[in-house]
Structure formats: C-alpha cells, structure tokens
Amino acid sequence: MPIKVRTSIHCLLMGSFLFACTNSQEGPYFGKTVPQHPADELWINGGGSPQYMDPSLIHDSVSSQFGRNQFVRLVEVSTQTGKPIPDLATHWEVSNDLSEYTFHLRSDAKWSDGKALTAQDIEWTWKRVLNPATGSMSGALATAFANASAFSHRAIYVHTRNPHEAFDREGFEKTLQSKFKIEKFEEPINLSGLFVYVSDSVEDKQKYRADLLAYIAAKMPHLSAKVADSSVVQVRALDTHTLWVKLIGPLPYFLSMLDYHVFAPVPQHAIEAAKKKTGREELWVRPEHIVVSGPYKLTEEKFKQYRYFEKNPYYYDAEFVKTPKIKVLVLEDYNTSLNIYRTGGMDWAGSNVSVPAHFVDEIKKYRDYSLSPQLVMYYFYLNVSKPELSNKHLRKALSLAIDRKTMVEKVTRAGQIPSANLIPCGLAGYTCAPATLFDPEQARKELAQAGYKKGDKLPPIEIKYNTAESHRKIAEALQQMWKKHLGIDVSLHNLEWRVFLHDRTEGNFQLARGGWIGDYPDPQNFFQLLLSDSSTNITRWKNKQFDELMKLSDRELDPSHRLELMRQAEIIALDESPIIPIYVYTKGTLKKPYLMGHYEDIQDYHEWKYMWIDDRWYNEVPESSLPQKPYKS
C-alpha cells in the first residue's frame, strides 16, 4: 500500500490525470476484468432517465431500449442481414401491389400475466398510437396505414347516408371551400365518401370543425359527417391470430418499419386496469402494474439510480434468453460512467453514451473499446427561404469548401466516416450518388457563379448550434475552412437546446446544425427530410422533381429500380445542397471481455436477450485462451 500511495501522490503532484497515472499498471483492458456480480446478472448503463417506458410513446434513444427489450414487435430486423425476420408474426402474405399485408401471429404468444397476446391487441395498440389524445410524438410513422392520417389529424369524414346514393364531390368541395378554410380534401381508401381537413391555427381548428359539422347537418341532410374515429383506419384483426392491414400505397420499407418500438403491441387490459386503479393511465409502466410481451420485465425501479429487469417466463422464446437479470444504471455523464466501468460497476457502458473525443486516443488502446458506424448523419441545414441562401451555387460552394476528412481526423477524432452524401452509403443495398468530399477549386467557381467574386462581401451568415463542446468545435472548424477556402466570414451562435429547437422549427436561422437517426434502415427515412410536405423538412427546400422521384420510389415494386429512383432523387438534392452532410456517426463504446452476445449494430439496439456473462472470467482466465474479439483501432 505505501508504494501505491506514494505513486498516487506523485501522480497528483505531477499534475497528470486519470490515464497518465494508470497506464503503466494496466493490462490490455480498461479496468477490472472479473465480473463484480453473479453470473446470472448483467450490469449495463442505460444512459439518462427514460422519459417514457410505454413503447407507443417513446421517441428518444434512452427510452427506446426499454421499449425494445420489454415488448415484441411483429418482425425483427436482423442485425446481420438488415432484413426483416419473423418475431411475433410467424409469416405474412403481401398483396401483389405491396400495399396489403396479412400477418399470422404465433399461437403461443402471451403477455407476462399469462393472457394470450392477440391480433386485437395489435389493432388496439396501433389505433391508440394514432389517436392524438395518446400523445405519441412518433405517431406520424403510423400514418402509413390507410386513412390513418385522417384519424390522427381529426379530419371530418363525410359520406352519403344512403350508401347507394351518388356523392357529388365536386359540388360539395366548392360549397365548403366558399364557406370555410379547408386545408385539403382526401379520398378515403376502401371507404366511400370524403375526408375534409380544416385548416387554421391548432386552437381554432376545434371551432372550425364544430362549425363545419353544424353546417353540414343543417344544410346537407343527405350527408353524414363526423370527426374521423379509429374505425376508419384500415387495420383489422381478422381473428385472434390474424391481422390485416392496408397501407396508403406500396411501402417497400413497411416491414423494416414494423421493428420500430412504436409498433410493439401494448396490453390493453393492463393499461385499463392501471387507469382504473390509479386514475392515471401513464402509471401502467410502473413495476407494480406493468405487463410485457418481450424477453424482460421491469421488476424494480429506483428513480435516477437503476432499474432491474427480470426474464419474462411467458416470453415465447424464453428458453433462449440467456441472462435472468439485468441491472440498468442511470448514468448520463460519460466521465462518471468511465470511472464506474473501470471499477467494474458495469459490464457495458451502454448505447446512449459515447466516449468523448478527448478520451478516444487514450481509450482506443484498450481491447474492450470498439467502434462501429451508426445509422446517424451529422448535417447542417440551410434555410433556403432566406434570400441570402436561396442561391444553389452559394450553397454548393459552402458544401464543397468543407474539408470533411480533416474534420473527422482532426476535430471530431472518433473514427467518424466523412460523407458528402445524405445517407450512410451502402444502407440496404443503396449505391450512393456521386458526391465530392472536398474541392476548394470547384467551391470558388461555384461562389463566383453565385455572383460573389473574390473579395465581394457576402451578406452576414450565421451558424446556429445547440450548446455542446463537440458542436462548437465543428462549427468553428467550418468557420475557419470557409474563411480559408472561400474567403468568407460567418459568425457562430450557440443556443440552449430548447431555444435552438424553437428557432429551427420556426425557421429563424440561416445555417443550423442537425442530425438524423434512422428510424428504420432504409434510405427513404433520410430522404424524406427533404420532401416538400414533410414535417421534418427543416430547410424549407421544395423541389417537384425530387418529390416526384420519391413518390415513384414509394410505389416501385422492383427493389433495385426503387433504389435507383432514390439515387436520382439524391443527385438532385446534392446538386441543390439544401443540406450539407458532414459525416456518418460512429459509436465508440466499452464492454468488458466477459460480456458475450453483444453484436455490432448500426441502429445501436443491442438486444439484451442475446447477452450473457462468460463465467470463465471469474477465475481470471488468461485471455490468450479465449477467442479474440473483433478489435478495431
């Protein structure tokens, strides 16, 4: 001990920190390699505190792990092949036009209280997700179902009382448009009649709806009108184990989408029971009320400390779930996580914390560090509605003058993949459109074409980003690169997250930092950021040709031609440059060598059910006797 103490004091006096003092005595791993808990447990870091545990409501990555590991989806996207494989649905039939699906569910699927999990549960769940009163912020994804959008936007459903009577749509639309503010009319799928979407501010919509309903009731007695309810949505349980859905059109990515936690069935009976008991529906996810369908079930919850999950014996695949108990810690701060990981307080540093750039050089020496590319892009959005950024040549000049390779090697330094493309290339077989990573010569030409010769003064341009060390560094690097290669000055403005989001949503920005995490592994999910009518179109860029190509690709049945159509759309988007991509994110993480079944995953899901502890490490097995883990430097 005295020697140890003396060395420590020496380290402190030398002013050297964490690593300098520990390196010399470290083996090839960062910290302890003997599990500090029984082999039937697993300790992982979940990141921060989850906002939601209800999979229908979850929209952040911290919460999503709890949704995914507790609730089964109809299909699972294989981390190896990226293709959907059966989960709750054993098989399914697809109509020739890819717009109708009939799913056949496992007959042995049960909730964790022993009740059978039926197709009715799924129908109920999906309609609940679509119901705005549920408050699901990811509900927009479910508008893929036919007529779902009408239900979730509270459109008015009008049809003739007598089903044999013809409906004079043209006359009806004209009359209504002359009296009310109408956003759009939409023909329902598989139903007669019409959906009417009223427009105006959200607060006034309610009043307009009432006025419109009253008007129709008074002046058009042959018509029946009501606010569209869940019955219009084309999702139906045909029997207890067969589910039929009709989509708005052929959606080639529909099956991949179903792996998203929002589509996981939730237990109607348990939710209603919890509501009856406590008066608050949202409490059904507490340990005392929760009923799950997946491999694990929440059994103990210590707010802001940890959660215990235990294997659900009713899970249909329970015999293959390897670890009986999972402890998920709540640790947001990476420095603290590193300390606790090092002392053996966790087996895996978790999905939601990434090794910070300034630690990477040191940490990557250890064999328990691994790096994998993610389905996440780092962007800068350009607000094309601002006159100074409406010129595409200027936007292209800005994009071409970014030395992305230097950016990832010198600034972000965590192995990110520089990208001038809008999506991670190769995703789902997609071949990216040609894009130039860095070409200062061409950038200057584009700038001249935009009407700014050397020395010309540009209108003031400002980059907005949310306050974070990493974003600041990138924004500063951009500032310098543009000064160096184009001779232009831009200013930086950092904003607190909520204010930043507010400004970005309101269009109160010129350039704003952004990122997109793929909801499902399909290029469409990234390209939809630029669709004219997309609610996620931050750039305000509208291009008919792009929209048309994307629409065609949605309806295209041949997979390779579909990808080609998207590629053509990307060519247009890159030529217009409303978004400046910088890089594809990577995730650097730490996991103990004894943790098995932890696979590389671009969506960073890492299902717990595959993980287990190799108990040979309790006896400090010489690591040479163990298989080498894939290690990347």
Partner: protein, 305 residues
C-alpha cells in the same frame, strides 16, 4: 420571542409568494417548449399535450390554478418524467440530498472548527499557518476539481470507495468531502477570526486572571463568542447543502435534487422547476429564521423584543 417568530413567518410567506410569482412568469416567458423535439410534434398531439398540463389556458388562469394546487400541497406533473409528479420526484430526491448535505456539513463543521480553533489558539505558529493555508486551498479548489482528484485517488487507485452512485455509507464519503470542503475552509477562517477577536476581550482576561485552566477558557468562554460568525454563515450554508449541488451530484451520480436545478430548466419542465424553487426558497427562509433564533439563545447581547 414568539411575536418575533410569528412576525417573521408572515414576512416569509409573502416573500415566498413573490418568489413564486416572479419565477412562474420568468420561466414561462423563456423561449422553447417542454414538448419540442427533433421530429416535429403533430399539431393535434401538441394541442392535447398542452391541454393535459393546462398550458392551453391564459397565463393568469394557469397561475391561479397553480397557486390553488400549491395550497393543497400539489406541485403538479413533470413533463420530462410523465410518470412522476413533482411531489414524488422531490420526495425521492430530497432525502438523499439531505443525507449527503448532513454529512458534508458534519465534515465541514468538525474540520473547519477544529482548524479554526487551532489557528486562533496557536496564532502565528506553524500550526496556524498550515491550517490557514489548507483552508485557503479548500476555498480556492472548486468541487469539479476536488471531486475528480478524490475519485482518482481513492476510488480508481486505492479502490477504497466507489467512484459514484448511491446505496451504502461508503458511497457518501467522497461526495460529502467534496461538497463539504469549501464550507470547512470558510468555517475555519471564520472560527479563527471570531476566536481571535474574543480571545483579546476583557472577560477572557478576567477568566484567565481567575486562574481558570486554558482549556476551560478556550472552550467554555472564548468558543461560545468566537463561533457567532460561523452560526451566521451556517444558515445559508445549511440551506445550500440541504438542497444539493449540481456539480457534486453530477460528478458522483448522486440521485439527489441538485442536478434538477439545471436539467429541469433546460427541459422546460415548468412545474418541476417551480417545485425546486419553492423547496429551495423555503429552506433558505426557514434556516435564516432559525439562525436568528439561535443567535438570541447563544448571544446574551441579542434580545428580540
């Protein structure tokens, strides 16, 4: 004395009301919404969420409803943790922070007073100089430097204490020292100053002249007078310690109230921010009153008439 306490309590209620009033509106007028996120929230969903929390009503109605709920002891729902009420969050977090604060205070008082007394009694000796130099270091060393150094030394290197978390007495040691050290340093300096002033007073000379032992002179007579500045300092210090520290609780991942001061504001978790503001102000007001009362008890010169 009773009249004094009653009078002050009335003033406290008014002060608290003013604090609530001002913070309620300041937070509401800050840009940004508790429901904003990367993906745009569908307007119908947003409307329903606003209605659930009552944010759709006029501001004056909201304030009125909020005050009504406060009187009933209901601090509202958290938007960031929809499964929890603000009452629950505070009930879970505050006791942990208070336990940590108590041990930090214990550390601060024991170390601070001891060092201060030594400094005063052995004035201008090597004891005094080293105690006061240490106090100077304690004051200048911010907790975000001291915390990691303690972790490095005691948790990562010697493996004596856990690097963070909650659950056992061992978990408390490092955060309590980190949190308490700066207070210990202040207390040491205040004790020394206070003692030095008293030690030169006539009644001490009288005590010595009476032939009292030095120990009795110091602890029975000088200490009681010398500690007064410390008591003044302890009022707000205890309030600070009891509601937690953002930095220390983050470094050691203590599941207390501290981090909410920042997080709740960043999340625009309106009711949670308000709940914390109320708890903190109430602590501060009550403890200040308590200090004044204690003053009256230990200092015979002060009378509340």
């Amino acid at each position: 004395m009773l009249k004094f306490i009653l009078g002050r309590s009335f003033g406290m209620v008014i002060t608290l009301f003013v604090i609530i009033f001002v913070s309620f509106f300041v937070i509401r007028f800050a840009k940004g919404s508790p429901f904003s996120q990367e993906r745009e929230v569908p307007p119908e969903v947003l409307q329903d969420l606003q209605a659930r929390y009552g944010f759709d009503k006029p501001m004056s109605t909201q304030f009125y409803n909020y005050m009504k709920n406060i009187v009933r002891g209901d601090l509202g729902l958290s938007t960031k943790y929809p499964q929890r009420t603000v009452n629950e969050i505070i009930a879970i977090s505050l006791p942990k922070t208070m336990v940590l604060g108590f041990f930090a205070l214990l550390w601060a008082v024991i170390v601070g007073v001891t060092a201060g007394v030594i400094g005063a009694v052995k004035q201008n000796t090597k004891w005094d100089y080293s105690a006061m130099s240490l106090a100077m270091v304690g004051i200048s060393l911010p907790s975000f430097v001291l915390g990691p150094i303690l972790i490095l030394f005691f948790a990562l290197y010697l493996l004596w204490f856990p690097a963070g978390g909650w659950g056992s007495a061992k978990h408390l040691v490092l955060p309590a020292i980190t949190l308490g050290t700066i207070y210990a340093a202040y207390i040491a300096r205040l004790t020394r100053g206070g003692m030095l002033e008293v030690i030169r007073a006539n009644f001490i000379r009288t005590a010595r002249a009476k032939g009292l032992k030095e120990k009795a002179v110091i602890w029975k007579h000088a200490f009681k007078g010398g500690i007064l500045p410390v008591v003044t300092f302890l009022g707000p210090a205890v309030a600070h310690l009891m509601v937690g520290s953002v930095v220390v609780e983050k470094i050691f991942n203590t599941p207390g109230l501290g981090p909410y001061f920042v997080d709740a504001a960043f999340n625009r978790d309106y009711f949670l921010i308000m709940g914390i503001v109320i708890v903190y102000s109430a602590f501060l007001l009550v403890l200040n009153l308590l200090v004044d009362v204690i003053y009256g008890i230990i200092d015979p010169r002060i009378r509340y008439e």
